[in-house]
Symmetry: C2
Subunit: 745 residues, 2 copies
């Protein structure tokens, strides 16, 4: 572990309570604004609009939008519609409008902006006390203004910030009226009726805490702030601090995955900034060794070269780091933690900044640095869980910019309600493209026709199931029976990793709980061969079980099938599904091979690059080629392809080798190196202590010896294989062309 | 017709023969080089390498590639492999290498380049006389160096040009040896054994003519030049001049479609330049009112905003105007015809130039014009056929740059061996994306695993068939029984068009030969509504037949189904095909609605825009939602979607309205205007004289009256509809919100 805990949880709680009591005193004399910035911060923006072009552009865009509404009668409708419908979109529009107008008031001191916010808040003051649960609610946590309470929390965050901006423009009686009419009903609803939800350790509750806390700071309500920080019972078992403790590992790895970091990072940073402004003695940005900085940095690293977040767990594949939430977090981070090349690289693509001192700093630095380097991706191991003891995630990476290859290996905990059942799953990105994909979630966010923009039922019936992932499904059942509760109680265990080598990066993990009586052990090796620079992934998947099972290992490839080394039968004029449940009912069985050689090869083309998956199984596998789309009456699923190897066995070791090769150019019409180098895979040894593999790459041998029980870094090993003696240190040895290309450090 | 014929074919032939006889005299004293440029042209390149950055970059890239081979023993293998295989790729590489080295010799006067070309040509001098038909040949026109003769023609073009560049470096006996050894076997093979092929009016024969002609000019062989210009019999029924006459309409529309213009334009321009250099009195670039300029301009206009050529007929969707063939043609055109903003716009994206005076000119102009405007697309009507009397193609267009909408309406002749059976088909592009697609061809060019990169059998069994297109299939049979020969004998007939209006562009055509006894009449109207700027397409498809038929009208949409106004049944766990032949065997029937209201609506999302197809049929249609992929044992087909309306009738009128609406942003997560405005379609009149339609767009009426028999532009019409009197001039009237938005000019 990189970062030791300095305090245990209880010690930290005591310190925080002490700090908090100091904060209360200061709060009594609170100046406003204090949430999104202080007066001086906004003055700073006003002073630099002329010179810092990105600041000016961001300001101008917002000003034009807000100015277009001035003098118009703005509808604050009675809530009725689901996401994507009119009343939903209008309330979403209005909280952004209030937030922007509040900032503009502080920057320009033009009262028309304050008046706009005031009039809207007064309409909400009349509306909100009349609201019951939203008619479109479907879950346990209905909203009032919106179909789900989460969106009401969004509203609180922005409306509270807007109130803070115009605090001094309002008379004391107006402040009281709005606090009691617009805010109190929602805060009470959250902290009393929905207190179970409010007290969750979950991204929804982060928004709720930030919303209640920001309203508390804006309206000088200490009670709200205390509930926001320590939960509805104010006992530190919930609330913002517990969320900072519970949702991140010491590395800053966010338990729900990067797609949701993106979403949670805004309330984390916005409320943290408000706390830093109002009670700097809390030192919130330094909390847990600056966990908020780590959180942002880890999220940014968990993107592909286009800035799209890795799509494991529930995730939509069009969300990148240019989304508004990350703009806010990144600007604040740049100010609080210092600006870095990576922050600048992202800010440049975001092409906008927030309208406070943080945003100014970023705009100013971009103005001064005309040539911003590309975002620098690196390999990393992340731990999961509050103490870093719930498995983790490895990102093996070689190459720069367009030639970056990223192999994501997941052995985390479950990831709360948006987690998927994909222990030991992998995802492969190469040259900017997704090669072996995680489906992500099935959702068309905020599109009313698609069930009001909610997560669609195929998210659960397909996307979350194990077969939708590049990992092993046993007996056509998902990990942990597809039960979130069961899965939450366990996690995979990391065996070893080493991301330091110039030619080899490795990570291995084990899961013994996903299926009772089945132990799955998987190791990933990302290699760059010396001389040629060719990249190859070795993937060893060992399974142990006393009983015989059916093992399905899918490769959810993105591309066009070029060639296989086996014959298969296609179902030319009639299709059926691969199975009946656990996601299998969504797979059309396009082709099948019943008994092929244990050595299988499958080549596909993705854009301009060829990929070959070569596998050696202990026995002859069956092969299925499938496509998603069955049992999808509303056409919610994308049409995605999978290459599935099926075996029946007790113990087994599958050796897979993913070779990245060749290129095709539609401009020159030249396809080069379209065949794999890999000619054969031989398993030399496979026992409880070692697995040894030899791979023939066009006559040059690539050899791997892996330890299966002793993973100590400094342990020496010695082994005779076919008359040759091998000696090495650490959990594995890899040699190419008879030279070791890895030695443990 | 825009352009009157000045001569009839026979007159032109006489004039050309006269000009040719003048050329012969000059040829005797021919200086070399003369094909790709004269000495002075290459000197010009040398002189400007320093200052014109794009010229220098293009030169440096080629020089680096060629320099890397100097001193190496280069393999000239005995031909063996299909496209994508080693010997194929090597010979392709070698003709480019010789061409580039030849140019470098002329530019640098460095003899190592001439020596490189010479040594390679000497190897071919030994090889070529030994060659029989290529072992991988599959068609009627086998190659010798390559699997098909077309590629041998490519070789002649480039190798001939290279010879010309080093002509003066060779001794007379070397010249004779190479001419007889490397070139003569192929020229003889083309003009004797394959003379039927050589004498085709087809892109292959253009390459062959250019190859033989360039070799003739390079080796001072008048006979070759004469065969190149006038066919193997030298009687003007074939050869380059006949190709210029026969493949282009007077507008410059290329009969095989824009994808093949791209391919043929290189030999057209390269040989034309060689002729201009060697016999300027031919005036080849001015021939047929500068048909070569028109050819290029029409091809460039037939692209989407990404420069990808429209994919009707056999076409691959990754070919854009940055491909090498267009670089060559564009540079030469810029020099011969004068440089335009559109040429500069394309050249900038091509980002390279050829290494002669033409290339220098383009590089120089780009150097001088730092801000090049975007390519300017415009609406256009093109005639097809040598005399412009074989139907044609309309491109209706509104909007600029990212907001361009292009509706392609095809009523051409067949288009030779690469033509598709899609009379009256449409293609829709919007905001840079393909919305209603033409599948194109099924081919992975030069990828050996995919049947040696050839056109795959699904090109014929699916992609060329009518059901693969956005037009009417009658009784599950393709137009003209899917027979190229039958289809070549006929063409559609244009009824009227008007692309002059600020709010309306229209085109209508008729086909009475595709199905015996069935007359199909289709009219397309692309509208931009005043005030809102909203774009709508009206599509009237009238069919007349004395017998009852089954009519299938597919919309091959690209996107995700959002909503329909009808209920359908999905085949959840078992799929069958839509039919058994004529392309139907490749369509999986995903969903079906047996009897829906005559008014159907179908909304889909493509990237960030919603599209709704609203249709009014005379009777209740059946609806099918399909996906390609059935009977595709090699996984050659992409997975594409179609929405098919099926009726049974004698006469019928289908009124379709394609509405472009709303937007979705994954960044802001806001979906606006995701529902169509269109509430109803009413057919007011439908007889032999008129069809009148009223469309309710959220309370505002859009009305169309179309003439069905009298299409004269200046004819006045008057009509009473439901008590209202309508009076207009020309073939149609369109009014919106009770105001005419179109008046014929």
């Amino acid at each position: 572990m990189k970062e030791p805990f300095l305090f245990d949880i209880n010690m930290r709680r005591s310190v925080l309570l002490l700090l908090f009591s100091m904060g209360v005193k200061l709060l009594c004399a609170q100046q406003h604004p204090v949430v999104f910035g202080k007066s001086a911060d906004f003055n700073c923006v006003a002073a630099h609009l002329k010179n810092d072009v990105l600041l000016r552009n961001s300001y101008t865009k917002i000003k034009e939008e807000v100015d277009a509404t001035i003098g118009k009668n703005i509808d604050v409708p009675f809530p009725k519609d689901p996401a994507g419908g009119y009343t939903h979109d209008q309330h979403k529009y209005l909280y952004n409008l209030m937030f922007n107008a509040g900032c503009l008031y502080q920057i320009t001191q033009d009262k028309k902006y304050a008046e706009l916010v005031k009039q809207l808040l007064l309409k909400y003051t009349l509306l909100n006390p009349t609201l019951k649960n939203h008619p479109q609610s479907t879950g346990n946590y209905p909203g009032r203004l919106f179909w789900q309470s989460l969106n009401d929390a969004n509203w609180l965050v922005y409306a509270g910030t807007a109130f803070d901006c115009i605090h001094d423009y309002l008379t004391p009686s107006e402040r009281k009226m709005i606090a009691n009419g617009a805010f109190k009903p929602l805060v009470d609803y959250f902290t009393r009726d929905l207190n179970k939800w409010f007290d969750l350790i979950h991204n929804h509750a982060v928004w709720a805490a930030a919303g209640v806390g920001i309203v508390g700071l804006a309206t000088d309500n200490v009670d709200y702030v205390q509930m926001a920080l320590y939960g509805s019972k104010k006992d530190s078992t919930a609330g913002f601090i517990a969320q900072l403790n519970g949702l991140f590992s010491p590395d800053g790895f966010y338990h729900e995955g990067p797609y949701y970091t993106r979403y949670a990072i805004l309330p984390f940073y916005l409320f943290a900034q408000a706390l830093e402004n109002s009670r700097p003695q809390l030192g919130i940005f330094k909390y847990r060794n600056s966990v908020l900085k780590k959180a942002l940095d880890v999220a940014l690293q968990q993107t592909n070269t286009d800035g799209i977040f890795f799509s494991y767990n529930d995730a939509l594949k069009d969300k990148s780091y240019v989304s508004n939430e990350v703009v806010v977090a990144l600007d604040i981070a740049a100010y609080q933690y210092g600006i870095s090349d990576n922050y600048l690289a992202v800010a440049k693509l975001q092409n906008k900044v927030i309208l406070n001192k943080s945003g100014w700093l970023v705009a100013n630095q971009l103005n001064r640095n005309k040539s911003v380097p590309l975002f620098n991706y690196h390999a990393a191991d992340y731990t999961d869980g509050p103490n870093g003891e719930q498995g983790g995630l490895s990102v093996l990476r070689f190459g720069k910019s367009n030639n970056l290859t990223s192999l994501v290996f997941k052995y985390t905990g479950h990831g709360l309600s948006h987690g998927h059942f994909d222990k030991l799953g992998i995802q492969l990105f190469d040259k900017g493209n997704e090669i072996l994909q995680d489906y992500g979630a099935v959702r068309y966010i905020n599109i009313e026709q698609k069930w009001g923009g909610r997560y669609l039922k195929e998210t659960n019936s397909y996307a979350q199931q194990t077969i939708a992932h590049n990992t092993l499904t046993v007996d056509e059942a998902s990990h942990y029976e597809g039960s979130e509760k069961l899965s939450e109680a366990h996690h995979s265990i990391k065996l070893f990793s080493d991301i330091s080598g110039p030619y080899v990066q490795a990570s291995a993990a084990l899961d013994s709980q996903a299926y009772p009586g089945v132990v799955m052990q998987r190791s990933e090796y990302l290699l760059v061969l010396p001389e040629t620079g060719k990249k190859i992934i070795l993937d060893l998947f060992k399974v142990k079980s006393e009983k015989e099972h059916q093992y399905d290992l899918p490769f959810n490839y993105v591309g066009t099938l070029m060639q296989t080394n086996f014959k298969y039968h296609t179902f030319n004029d009639q299709l059926t599904t691969l199975g009946l449940k656990n996601g299998y009912q969504h797979l059309w069985k396009l082709a099948q091979a019943d008994s092929v050689s244990p050595f299988t090869q499958f080549t596909f083309l993705n854009k301009s690059t060829f990929y070959t998956i070569s596998s050696l199984n202990d026995v002859s596998p069956m092969v299925f080629l499938t496509q998603t789309g069955a049992n999808d009456p509303d056409f919610n699923l994308r049409k995605e392809s999978s290459y599935i190897l099926r075996t029946r066995a007790k113990n087994q070791t599958a050796i897979n080798c993913i070779e990245i090769h060749g290129s095709f150019s539609p401009v020159t019409e030249i396809a080069s190196h379209s065949y794999p180098d890999l000619k054969s895979i031989s398993k030399k040894i496979d026992n409880d202590a070692y697995t040894a593999v030899a791979i023939d790459l066009n006559g040059k041998m690539l050899e791997l010896i892996q330890c299966n029980s002793d993973f100590r870094r400094d342990q020496m090993h010695e082994l005779q294989i076919e008359g040759h003696s091998y000696k090495w240190k650490g959990p594995f040895l890899i040699s190419y062309n008879q030279k070791s290309i890895h030695s443990s450090k």
